[in-house]
Symmetry: none
DNA sequence: GATGAATGAGCCTTCATTCAT
DNA sequence: AATGAATGAAGGCTCATTCAT
C-alpha cells in the first residue's frame, strides 16, 4: 500500500517540502535584504540547496515571491476562519489590532509586504496574485463583519458591507505602513482610537 | 561685493535648478520602472545631463530618492497649510478623500511610495527622512484636527489628538495600498464609509 | 546456451533501440535549436526517457553528436551504393543535384551539418568521425566516378579520380552552404550550370 | 579647426577604434574556442577592456559576431575589387584557389565561418547579415566573370552569369568545408581539377 | 561645471553531468 | 535498466560609480 503510493506521491511530497524550504529561506532573506537585495545564491544557501535546484522547483525569482504571497494569504485566511469559528467575533477583530502591534519580526514583515505591493504595481503576474489575495481576504472580512453585525446585517446592502470591509482593510494596511514610518508611535492611544473606528464599522 | 556674491549665488541657484531637473527626471523614471528598475543612466538621459554629473549634485542613488521624499513632504505640508489657511477645515479633510481617488498617475505614485517605505525599512538614512517626513505631516494634521474640533480641542489631551491624527494618516496610507491591491474598488461606497470614519475622528 | 545468448543479445538489442531513440530525438532537437541550443533535458524528454539514462547509452553530449554523424554517413553510403547498383550512374549523379534542392528540412539539416563541421574544427574526437565519414564517402564517390567514366577510367590515374571526387564533394558541400546563405537562389539556372560542371567531372 | 572637429569626431573615432579592438579580440577568441565556447569575459580580457564596456560598443554577443561578418565581407569585397582593377582577371580567379590553400589560420577561419553559417540558420539577425554579405560578394563575382568572359559576356543572359557566379561561390565554400573535413587532401591534384572547373565557368 | 568612457563586481539563470534509489 | 533530484560552475549582461579631460 505504501509502495503503491510512494512513487508519484512521495515525489510530489518531496518537491512540496523542498518548495517550503525555499519559501522559508526566501522569506528570511527577503525580510533581511529586500526582494532586490537578496540573491538567489543567498536564498539557495539559506535553503540548504544549490541555486540551480531552485529552478527545478520555481520558474524564476518572481515566482518565488508570488508563492510567498500565496502562502501568506492562506495563513491570513486561515486565521480569519478561526475567528469566524470562534464565539465572540467583535472582540476578536478588536484583538487583531493589539496583536498586530506585538508581532515579532513586524518591521521586516511590513517592509517585505510593502515591497511586494510596490513590485505588483509593475509586475502583472505578481499583481494578479496580490489582487486575488486581497480579494479573498476581503470576502472573508465581509463574512466577519456580517457576523459581528448580527441580525442587522440582513437589512444592510452588500455595498455597505463591502465598503466597511474595505475600510477595515485600509486601516490594517495603514498600520503596516506605520510600522515603518512611525516606529515610535504611541501605540496605546492609537489602539484606543483605532478600536473606536473598528466599532463604528462593525456596529449597525 | 555684489559681484562676489552673485558668483557664488548664481552657482548655488544653478546647482539647485540642476538638482530639480534630476529630481523631476528621477521621479519620472522611478514611477515608470521602480527604484531598482531605473538606472542612473536612464535618469541622466531623462534629465538631459551626463550620469557623472548627477554625482556632483547628489551623493548617490539613495540620496536622490531621499531628496524626492523630502520634496514630496514639502508639497504635502504646503497643501495642508493651505487647508489650515482656508475657512472650512472639516470639509477640506473630507475632500482629500475624493481627491485622492482622482489623482492622475495615482498607481505609479502609490507604487513608488510603497517602494520608498519598503526601502526605508532597511536603509537607515532613508528611514530617517521618511520618519521625519511623516512626523512633520502628522504634526500639521494635529493642528488640522484641532481646528476642525473647534473649542472642544482645548479640553482634549494631546495624546488623543495625536492618536486621531495617526489613525487619519493610517487611513490615507491604507487607501494608497488599495490603489495597488484593489484597483477595482467600489470607490463611491468606500468614500462614504471613509467619510463617516473621518467625521468620527474630527468631531468631539 | 541459447538462453544465455538471448539474455545478452536482448539487452544489446534493447540498448541499440534505445540509442536510436536518443539519436532520433537529438537530431530533431539539434535541427530545431542547434547543438549548443538543445539541452540534454530536452533531448531526454523528446526521446521519452530520463536525462540520466542517456548517460548509460552515451558517454556524453559530444558522443551523441558523433553517433548522429556516423549514422548519417551510413545512410549516405547506403544511397551511393544504391546508385552503384543501378543502371545509369551518370544521370544518377546529376539527379542528386535536383534532389538536394528538394529535400524537406533542408535548411535545418544544413545548419546542423555546418555546426558539426565547425565543432569538428575544435573537437578532435568529433573531427575523427567527420574525417572518417568524409573519407568513406569520397571512396564510394571514386567508385561512382569510375563507373561513370566507363573504360576511360582504366587509363586515368587514381590521383585524378580522387581529385574529381573531391571537387564533386566540394560542390555538394557548397550547395549546402548556400541553403543558408543564398535562400533565394535561382535554383534552375544554378542546377543547369552545376550539371555542366558535374559532366566535366565524370567524363573523360 | 582641430578643436572644432575633436569633440564629436574624436569620440566617434575612439569608439570605432575600441570596436575594432573588440572585433580583433573576438575573432581571435572565436577562432580558438568557437562562438559558444568563447566567453565575453575572455574577449574583454583579450581586448584589454572590461566586459561591461563591450556592451557600450555592441548590443550583445550576437552583435559582435555580426560585426565580424560585416568586416570580413568588406575585406573580401575589397580583394575582389583589387582583382577587378588588375590586368588579368582570369588568372587572378585561378590564383584564388591556390591562395586559399595557403592561408595561415585557414582551419580556424573555416571553422568560424561554418559556425557563423550554422548560427545564421537559427538567428534571423545574423542571417540577414550573412545573406547580405553573400549577395554583395556574388554581385562582385558576377562582374568578375563578365570581365573574364570579355566580349562574350554581352550576349550572355544575366541568369547564366549569376548561376556561374553561384557555382563559383559554391566551389570556394566547398573548399572551406574541406579545410575541416579533408585536411589531408591532395591539394595539387584537387587544385588542377578545380582550375579546370573554374575555366569552364569563366569561358564562353 | 560637465562629460561620458570605463570599470568590475555581482546578478539571474542554464545545463551537462552525477548518483542514490 | 531507469529515474529524476541535485549539483555547481559558468555565462551573458547590467549598472552604480569613478575619473581623466
Amino acid at each position: 500500500m505504501c509502495a503503491a503510493l510512494s512513487s508519484s506521491q512521495a515525489q510530489t511530497d518531496r518537491a512540496l517540502a523542498r518548495r517550503q524550504q525555499v519559501l522559508d529561506a526566501a522569506t528570511d532573506c527577503f525580510r533581511r535584504r529586500g526582494f532586490h537585495g537578496a540573491s538567489m545564491a543567498e536564498i539557495a544557501k539559506t535553503a540548504g540547496m544549490s541555486p540551480g535546484h531552485i529552478y527545478n522547483l520555481f520558474e524564476n525569482k518572481d515566482d518565488v515571491i508570488a508563492a510567498i504571497v500565496e502562502r501568506d494569504r492562506d495563513e491570513i485566511v486561515r486565521r480569519i476562519q478561526e475567528t469566524l469559528d470562534g464565539d465572540d467575533v467583535s472582540s476578536a477583530i478588536l484583538g487583531y489590532i493589539d496583536e498586530s502591534f506585538h508581532e515579532p519580526e513586524r518591521d521586516a514583515e511590513a517592509a517585505l509586504n510593502l515591497e511586494v505591493l510596490a513590485e505588483a504595481g509593475r509586475n502583472p503576474k505578481l499583481a494578479k496574485v496580490v489582487v486575488d489575495s486581497e480579494t479573498v481576504i476581503r470576502d472573508k472580512a465581509m463574512i466577519l463583519i456580517r457576523m459581528a453585525l448580527g441580525p442587522a446585517a440582513e437589512t444592510m446592502p452588500d455595498d455597505e458591507i463591502e465598503a466597511r470591509a474595505t475600510v477595515l482593510g485600509a486601516l490594517f494596511n495603514g498600520l503596516m505602513v506605520f510600522t515603518v514610518s512611525q516606529p515610535h508611535l504611541n501605540q496605546q492611544a492609537a489602539a484606543r482610537v483605532m478600536q473606536r473606528v473598528v466599532r463604528l464599522l462593525i456596529e449597525p
